[in-house]
C-alpha cells in the first residue's frame, strides 16, 4: 500500500475517512467505511468527532471496543488532529465503550466484569485475517505461473518493489528469474503477516500454515483450502451481520413516526 499524503494542514472529511478506511471489523476483516458503520464525521479545528453504528446492539463488546479504539487512534495519527472523539450509537454497551475510549481507559478498566483479555481476542482474529489474506496472495502467485513448491519456499527478500508501480517482482530459484504480480494482495497479506509477527526478517518464509508453521509442499493444497475456508467464514458472518443490519434499519424506519 502506498503512503497517503492527503494529511495537509487543512483537515478534510476525506482525509479522516481515509484513515477510518484502515480500521477493520476484526471479525470480518473489512473496512468499517466499506461496511457503512461510519455515520458522520464532524471537524471543529483540530477536534474530530466520529459517529459509529454497528449492525446490532449486541455486537460483541470486545469487537466494538477494538473498532472504536482503532478509529480513535487512526484519526489521531493525522498531524492536524489534536483529539478524536468517538461516539458509538445503539449499542448495549455504548456508555462503557464511549467513556472508556474517550477517557483513554483500558478495556479491563471499562469492563471490570469481563473475563478474557482483549489482546488475545484480537490476536486470534488477526491470525484468521492473515490466513484469509494469504489465500489471495497465493492465488495471485499461482495465477502468475509459480508452482506450489516454489511458493512455499519464498522469503521476504525475494520481493522487489519498483518505484511508482502497482506491482511487485518476485525472484525465484536463487534469483534466476522473476515474475511480476499485482502488489495489492501481497501487501494486504504482508500487513497482517507483520502484525501477527510471522514475517519480519529477510529470510523469513513468506507463507505459513494457519498454525504459523512453514508449509510442507505436500500439504500446500490443504493449507490453501483452509485460507479459502477462512474467507468463506468471514463473508458468511458478514452476511449475517449485514442481514441483521438491514432488519434493524427496516425496523427503525418503521418506527420513525411513532
Amino acid at each position: 500500500m502506498s503512503t497517503r499524503t492527503s494529511d495537509g494542514p487543512a483537515l478534510t472529511r476525506a482525509a479522516v475517512r481515509d484513515r477510518l478506511d484502515r480500521v477493520t471489523d476484526p471479525e470480518l476483516d473489512r473496512s468499517i467505511v466499506a461496511l457503512e458503520y461510519v455515520d458522520a464525521i464532524e471537524i471543529d479545528g483540530g477536534n474530530v468527532g466520529v459517529d459509529l453504528t454497528l449492525p446490532t446492539a449486541w455486537c460483541s463488546p470486545a469487537f466494538a471496543w477494538m473498532m472504536a479504539v482503532d478509529a480513535r487512534d487512526e484519526v489521531e495519527s493525522l498531524p492536524a488532529v489534536e483529539e478524536a472523539r468517538i461516539t458509538l450509537h445503539e449499542h448495549m454497551h455504548e456508555t462503557e465503550i464511549n467513556r472508556g475510549v474517550n477517557e483513554r481507559l483500558s478495556f479491563a478498566e471499562s469492563f471490570p466484569d469481563a473475563d478474557g483479555d482483549i489482546a488475545a481476542v484480537r490476536a486470534e482474529l488477526d491470525e484468521k485475517a492473515r490466513v484469509a489474506r494469504q489465500y489471495d496472495a497465493v492465488e495471485a502467485l499461482l495465477e502468475a505461473g509459480l508452482d506450489p513448491e516454489t511458493i512455499v519456499e519464498l522469503q521476504v527478500r525475494d520481493l522487489e518493489y519498483a518505484d511508482g508501480a502497482d506491482s511487485v517482482s518476485i525472484y525465484v530459484r536463487d534469483s534466476s528469474f522473476a515474475v511480476t504480480v499485482p502488489d495489492a494482495p501481497i501487501e494486504r497479506y504482508l500487513e497482517k503477516a507483520r502484525e501477527t509477527n510471522l514475517v519480519s526478517a529477510p529470510d523469513d518464509r513468506l507463507f505459513r500454515t494457519p498454525e504459523g508453521d512453514p508449509i510442507d509442499p505436500d500439504s500446500f493444497e490443504l493449507v490453501h483450502r483452509r485460507g479459502r475456508l477462512a474467507q468463506v467464514n468471514m463473508s458468511s458472518q458478514g452476511g449475517i451481520c449485514d442481514g441483521l443490519r438491514e432488519a434493524r434499519e427496516g425496523r427503525l424506519e418503521g418506527t420513525v413516526d411513532e
Binding site: M92, G116, K128, L229, V232, S235, S236, G239, I240, A247
Partner: protein
C-alpha cells in the same frame, strides 16, 4: 416428502423447538433480550410475507407447530432439541418435559431429545438418568453458553462434562447436539466457541457430535475439527435460510461443508420456529450451487446429496427406517388430519400450501 423431478425426498427436520417466551414466563431481562434477538434472526432470514409478528412468535403452541411442520408434508419427521434457559424463564424456554407433551402424542413423527448441564453435578447425572428412563431419549441438546447463577457458560471438554458424556455413552444416548453458532444476546459469544468439541469428540468415539449451526462464526474451526474427527457432523440451522435471500453465500457455505465433511455428515435443521420448514425446505431443495463453486470445489447439490442431507444422514444416527416410516404415514393420525394418505401411498404432491 418433497417431490423433485418425479423423485421423493424424505425430510427429517433435525432441529425444532416448542417454546414459551411470553412475558408471564420471563423472569430475567435476559429472557426478553433472548427472544428479541431470536426475532431479529427470524426477520433477517425469512421472506417478508412469511414473517410472524412478535406476539405469535413468543408462543405459537402445539397445533400450529404440527401444521407448520407436517401440514403440507414439508417435513415428515422432526427432532425436538430442548433449550432450558431456566435462569431467564420461569418454566424454562423449552424443556424436555414441555416438548414431551407433543412428542408423546405423535411418537411416530417426533424424536424427543433431552439435555444435561455439567454444572448440576450429581443431581444433573440423576436427571439425565431420569430422562433416559422416562423418555428413552436417544440424544441430548447442549447449550454451553447458558447462564447458571454466576456462571456464564461451560465447556464440553471440562472434566465435569466428560462425566456426563460418559454417562451418555453408558446409557446408549448416542447423539450429542452442541449449539455452536451465532451469539444470541445476552449470551457470551466465546461460550459458543466450537473448539471444545474437538477433544470431546476424540475422547468419545462411540458418540456422534452434531454441531448445530456449523460453528458459525467459526465455520473454519468447525470444518477443520470435523475433518479430523469422523464422528462430528454439521447441523445446517442458520446456514439453511441463506438459501432464501443470500443464495450465493448458501452455495459457498454448502460447497465448503460438502468438500470438508462430505455428503454423509451434513444434516438439515430449520431451528423452528426461528425458521419454518413450511417454506424453508423448498428454498433449500431448489437452491443450486453456482457454476463457479461447482468447478472450484468439485461437489454437487444433486438429488443423491439432498436425500442424504435432508433425511438419510440423521435417519442413520437415530435408527429411523425411512421406508417403514413412509408406509406407516399412509395412515397415521397426522396424515389423516392433513389428508396426506395419498401423498405417502402414491407419491402424489402434498395438498397445496395456502
Amino acid at each position: 416428502m418433497y417431490q423433485q423431478n418425479g423423485e421423493e425426498i424424505f425430510v427429517i427436520d433435525g432441529h425444532v423447538h416448542l417454546w414459551d417466551a411470553t412475558e408471564e414466563n420471563i423472569k430475567h431481562q435476559g429472557g426478553e433480550e433472548f427472544i428479541q434477538c431470536f426475532y431479529d434472526y427470524h426477520t433477517t432470514f425469512t421472506p417478508e410475507e412469511r414473517q410472524w409478528d412478535i406476539d405469535e412468535y413468543r408462543k405459537y403452541g402445539a397445533d400450529r407447530m404440527v401444521e407448520d411442520l407436517f401440514g403440507n408434508a414439508a417435513a415428515d419427521m422432526a427432532i425436538f432439541q430442548p433449550t432450558y434457559l431456566t435462569d431467564f424463564y420461569d418454566d424454562g424456554f423449552n424443556t424436555t418435559e414441555q416438548n414431551a407433551e407433543l412428542a408423546t402424542e405423535h411418537p411416530e413423527r417426533f424424536v424427543l431429545n433431552g439435555t444435561f448441564d455439567p454444572r448440576d453435578g450429581e443431581e444433573g447425572l440423576e436427571y439425565l438418568e431420569e430422562l433416559h428412563e422416562k423418555y428413552e431419549i436417544p440424544g441430548v441438546k447442549l447449550y454451553t453458553a447458558e447462564w447458571r447463577g454466576d456462571s456464564k457458560g461451560w465447556r464440553l471438554d471440562d472434566e465435569e462434562a466428560f462425566e456426563f458424556l460418559q454417562k451418555c455413552a453408558d446409557l446408549g444416548i448416542e447423539n450429542v447436539h452442541p449449539h455452536k453458532g451465532p451469539t444470541i444476546r445476552p449470551l457470551n459469544r466465546d461460550a459458543f466457541d466450537v473448539k471444545d468439541v474437538d477433544d470431546a469428540a476424540s475422547s468419545f468415539p462411540e458418540l456422534n457430535f452434531i454441531v448445530e449451526h456449523v460453528g458459525l462464526p467459526r465455520l473454519d474451526d468447525f470444518c477443520w475439527i470435523a475433518t479430523q474427527e469422523t464422528n462430528v457432523y454439521g447441523g445446517l440451522a442458520v446456514a439453511a435460510p441463506f438459501a432464501q435471500n443470500r443464495p450465493g453465500k448458501f452455495s459457498e457455505i454448502m460447497s465448503e461443508l460438502l468438500w470438508w465433511l462430505g455428503e454423509d455428515r451434513v444434516i438439515f435443521g430449520s431451528d423452528y420456529a426461528i425458521w419454518n420448514p413450511d417454506w424453508l425446505v423448498e428454498e433449500v431443495m431448489e437452491a443450486e450451487l453456482t457454476e463457479e463453486h461447482r468447478a472450484e470445489y468439485g461437489v454437487e447439490w444433486d438429488l443423491e446429496t439432498k436425500k442424504k442431507v435432508m433425511g438419510e444422514n440423521i435417519a442413520d444416527l437415530y435408527d429411523i427406517d425411512i421406508e417403514a416410516k413412509r408406509e406407516a404415514f399412509q395412515n397415521d393420525e397426522i396424515s389423516q388430519q392433513f389428508d396426506l394418505e395419498d401423498h405417502y401411498a402414491s407419491g402424489e404432491p402434498a395438498p397445496a400450501d395456502d
